[in-house]
Amino acid sequence: MSSSELTAATHINPQPPLRQTTQMPTVATSSSRLFNGFFEWFGELGIFSWRVLKAGVSPPYEGHELVRQLDEVGSKSLPLVAMAGSAIGVILSLEARYSLTRFGAKSMFPATLVYSVVQVMGPVITGLVVSGRVGAGMGAELASMKVTEQIDAIEASAINPYRLLAATRILACILMLPLLTLATDACAMMTGWFTQSLVEPLSFHQFISSGFKGATFNAFLPQTFKTAVYGLIIGLIACFQGMRTRGGAAGVGRAATNSVVLASLFLILADVVLVKFILVFFP
């Protein structure tokens, strides 16, 4: 477009160039803010993780608080994961029996149920249930402490809040998730067997021996212990979201929600990597 044409166009409709100059920076600014916010979040998470690690490995160790958190994360989550596991066992039993009967592979039922529970459903269900219960609880508790200056009061009392509040909670999650997963698996297998035995009597011993026939440690242990990584994700995200909260009651609500949503999301994303890792290193 020549300069005369441009002048003419501007004369006829002077608004578009003005709109372009005002809108473009707005879009660019909001995109850049989003982009910056994304990397800022990861940067802050990295710094937070480093502080927690540094505080967690150096004395004094907060043994009492760790025991309290083990109880909070472990014992108090047990009924919930047991119920979730039991329900999963019933569902898998009903679905598997139907599908296996259709394909004439009914004898594979115990192995299908055991492998489905231990390798896939047990770890993921436990992770998601604990993420919901513990993630929200920790996020809200720490956020509430943050907005009421209780975390500042801990720091002012010469106590490292990263050690007392974050390291203990994260370690409790790491230690408790594999144990809770074992509980979920056990409940799922029990109810799976029970549901099956209502239709077609099968002894529990027979069910277990046939389910684990030919199984190696590599088939089960990595799948169970990978949940320690879920524990790390749940604890780390909940503590991070809680301890960076701003803005009163609304901030506490946001922290609790974000803790659950982000922990669940990262847990599923991590599972993709962990499954591939286990397949490569523990074939």
């Binding site: 200056e149 002012a156 490292n160």
Partner: protein, 262 residues
């Protein structure tokens, strides 16, 4: 031309006594999101001395206390506690300094999952592991008796009034027998009798234990009673610093207006 602070410093006490200050705030600037809160603050407090910091709401008085205890870091300038510059100090190094300081928060900041006694015992449980449980309990009872709350040990913070929470916060701040006490509005929300008791307690600590205190307050009467010097802040700057009589004699418009309204 000398600034108000320089004039006040020349006239006031800070440089007259030869002993080294336990708290020295030198040319401290602090902004939050581009908003200047502290604009070149200079303050010194010696052992056994009480400095009251007065000023309008939002002039950075509480921020000043948070900087001194290291909960925030200054943009520029230095804060020395017992001669050690705390700016940029690691958390564990700062903890050693904080063990010698007591801090009372504006809203008490009590741990809401612990009882009154649990709140006061909290610093003892973490830093005085040489003390037995019964010694710690005795110390907690003694501290709560000093602030007039010896009958409320097992109550939860949510079950006591704001004024009582303040007193529990003060007892907690005194648990480790600090050499420096930072009090953010210790008498706000208290009735005149309780307020007088807190003032008396601060004077007693000053007299018996030679504690250096910085007290942020809006209560001019309390400031006059407990503090040897008063620093008046406006727009993040020290307008005047000196004994109360000096403030009364000042020709600075803001000082006159502040005293008139108080």
């Amino acid at each position: 031309m000398a600034t108000d602070y320089e004039i006040a410093t020349k006239q006031g006490a800070p440089e007259q006594n030869g002993s080294a200050p336990v708290v020295a705030v030198e040319n401290v600037f602090k902004s939050f999101d581009g908003h200047k809160v502290l604009n070149g603050i200079n303050l010194r407090v010696k052992k056994g001395e009480t400095l009251a910091v007065l000023g309008r709401s939002g002039t950075g008085k509480s921020v000043l206390l948070r900087l001194i205890i290291g909960l925030n870091t200054p943009d520029t300038g230095s804060i020395c506690i017992h001669g050690q510059d705390i700016a940029g100090m690691a958390l564990d190094g700062m903890s050693e300094i904080r063990k010698r300081m007591g801090f009372l928060f504006q809203h008490a900041a009590l741990y809401d999952s612990l009882t009154v006694a649990g709140n006061v015992a909290f610093p003892l449980e973490h830093h005085r592991r040489d003390m037995s449980r019964s010694e710690q309990s005795d110390r907690v009872r003694q501290l709560l008796a000093e602030v007039g709350l010896d009958g409320d040990l097992e109550k939860m913070p949510s079950d006591i009034s704001g004024g009582m929470q303040k007193r529990v916060g003060l007892a907690r701040a005194l648990a480790l027998e600090p050499e420096i006490l930072l009090l953010d509005e210790p008498t706000a929300g208290l009735d005149p009798i309780s307020s007088g008791e807190i003032d008396e307690l601060i004077l007693k600590l000053q007299r018996e234990r030679q504690i250096a205190s910085i007290v942020v307050t809006h209560d001019l009467h309390s400031a006059k009673t407990i503090a040897g010097r008063i620093a008046l802040l406006d727009k993040g700057e020290v307008v005047i610093e000196g004994p109360f009589e000096e403030l009364q004699q000042s020709d600075i418009g803001f000082v006159k207006e502040f005293l008139k309204q108080s």
